[in-house]
Symmetry: C2
Subunit: 385 residues, 2 copies
């Protein structure tokens, strides 16, 4: 089995877990945040700098790579790791999330007919096509092709969709040709409905995947309903498999999901915000465009040990954004990736040292003091740009 999760310590009072996830490209600690490199690249960040910022597993997007350069080209060039020069583990999503959000897509039992953006030709993607593409791309972790439905959706539609997602999960499993090199994860759907989340999780577990994702979240439902979706799914997932909460999220979403038993996360928020000049700090978010940073000789976060904070002042970053120098986006992304990596590393340490609740309270006391200036939690990885 290419993917193996080992539970190191489970908290006694909440469901938070610390563990290790073994992949063909190395073993990584969990909980773990995974930065998103949609088009086989972390936007504005050289892989050496991402690695230095602590990135361990990175994501790429089957939909985008399907379009360009095409999975067959990537396979011919030795797979995604070789193609993009990333030495650590990788994960690809199934492409479903993007395909379902396209206007004019037609869903049938077979799969989805759609036209790629930019006036593309009509295309078909079902479980077999998605898995074939992901086998070609060659990431360590690949995802079943599921129907990611919008929020809100009624119970009737969701119930029928869950059954289709289960049939597609089975077909994904059957289509998977590289079982020795890649682990295929099942995805729990079911929107906000406890009964459907339970049924989906239980049926997927019968199929025995090496890891399970909670999907269909971060689609505009908000923090509370996102947490309900986790709570409705998690009890039915095995303890000896890793749990992946897809497309999440803000630091507080991740912390609360860890507390509810989730292990790995991906989101475009840190890199997207980094490029926009919004930097995460231990005391909340810092917006570098503000005039008061013009002469500020302090680093982004005096409590941060990242390569950006050790070398550059807020004044320099303010300048880079002021004159629209691309290096500003690079440095902002590096800092934010480091923040997210430190966040999950600190969560892990707190779990191991049996001080979860104390750590969480301490984090929030500082972080929320700075205020959340209104980001929603719906910034799913690989969302159409």
């Amino acid at each position: 089995m290419p993917i193996k999760y080992t539970l190191e310590r489970a908290d006694k009072t909440v469901k938070a877990r610390a563990g290790w996830l073994k992949t063909p490209h190395g073993e990584v600690p969990t909980p773990l945040f995974m930065p998103v490199g949609t088009q086989a690249a972390l936007k504005t960040v050289h892989p050496d700098l991402a690695e230095a910022a602590g990135a361990k597993i990175i994501l790429s997007n089957t939909y985008h790579l399907f379009l360009q350069p095409g999975p067959a080209v990537v396979a011919r060039l030795g797979g995604l790791h070789e193609f993009m020069g990333w030495r650590g583990p990788m994960l690809t999503d199934s492409g479903g999330f993007q395909v379902f959000s396209l206007p004019g897509r037609v869903i049938t039992e077979e799969g989805v007919r759609f036209a790629f953006e930019k006036g593309g030709a009509p295309t078909f993607m079902g479980p077999e096509e998605s898995i074939k593409a992901q086998n070609d791309l060659g990431a360590d972790i690949i995802m079943a092709f599921d129907e990611c439905i919008p929020y809100p959706a009624d119970h009737k539609y969701t119930a029928a969709s869950v059954e289709r997602t289960l049939r597609w999960a089975k077909r994904s499993q059957n289509a998977h040709k590289r079982q020795a090199e890649q682990g295929l994860f099942g995805i729990v759907q079911g929107s906000v409905y406890a009964d459907l989340r339970e049924r989906c999780a239980k049926e997927l577990v019968k199929m025995d995947f090496p890891g399970y994702a909670v999907g269909g979240v971060s689609v505009g439902e908000g923090h509370e309903l996102m947490m309900r979706a986790v709570e409705h799914s998690e009890p039915f997932l095995p303890k000896d498999k890793v749990r992946y909460l897809m497309g999440v999220g803000r630091p507080e979403d991740i912390i609360e999901a860890i507390e509810r038993g989730m292990d790995i996360f991906d989101c475009i928020i840190p890199t997207k915000m980094g490029r926009a000049g919004v930097f995460f700090t231990s005391e909340g978010k810092l917006r570098i465009h503000k005039k008061n940073y013009r002469k500020d000789r302090y680093p982004i976060d005096t409590a941060c040990g990242c390569a950006v904070c050790k070398r550059f002042s807020r004044a320099y970053l303010h300048h880079l954004f002021e004159v629209d120098e691309p290096l500003g986006k690079t440095l902002g992304s590096i800092h934010n990736i480091h923040f997210y990596m430190e966040l999950t590393a600190a969560a892990r340490m707190a779990i191991l040292e049996n001080r979860w609740t104390e750590w969480k309270k301490g984090f929030y006391a500082k972080y929320l003091k700075g205020g959340d200036e209104g980001e929603d939690s719906s910034q799913k990885s690989g969302k159409k740009r």
Copy 2:
């Protein structure tokens, strides 16, 4: 004296020289190419990656920094090195080149009245203002405020302009307040006129600068006239001072200028072309947009040892440019900076090993085989974007 040039070996048959240039931030070998970081940043390139690509001295632009964040702010933050996190030597130009190219600028004996782009307020810059700004910025090498005239210019105008440039050079010298930390270079003007180049060079040498630049080139005059400008200036410059050919250029411009006794060079060509997907190789320029690179597993240049060529294929770079991923610009810039750094390093080695002409022939035999697809040689550093 903060700037000291030591001649290591002068070729016996041509004027090529190998030497060392000592600055407050380290000693560097010459001939040397200096990458341009116009707005206190190398566009798309993190300083660690620039250093790894071999960059030793980098340039910044007084005009751009005058506008934002302002030299006083940079001074308050500890100077340009501290501000932008660059540990090696730096050079600032005087801002004159940009100011003179602005529409509506008015030149008087005092200096130049102009309005900054983007609807800026009327501003004045003369030698005193430029040197004050450069003292504030704190680069190791700073440049006299000169009149950089366009090509073509008639003899009468050029003669009057050279006299003004000489008076401004004297005023620049008098205005320079940080003689212990920064070396001020004089700039030889005179357009294409041998008598004016000679007069300008001789008068500047009487003022005794720690280094001399040949300016007023790379303004559209073409390779032949650029070489004439060097030949008309160089004989009158002292052997024990470094010679800087400003805003040059293509590899063949640099090689021919080294052969004519020039030591240091700056140009936006490698980074600008790198961002445009045009990569320098030992066999000429490679345009990564071309379809035939789509599945090409080779590096940009199989003869290149740069970090990009060691890790990434042409196919990956083609993909990055195809989907407009910023990482493509970064990798292209790194490769091209490395190419230029290797070019001047190889030239230096050839001079030291007494095989200049043989090396030059060998370089051209491979490089020109690939063809020059029509770049002109007028891409001056820091030209208005």
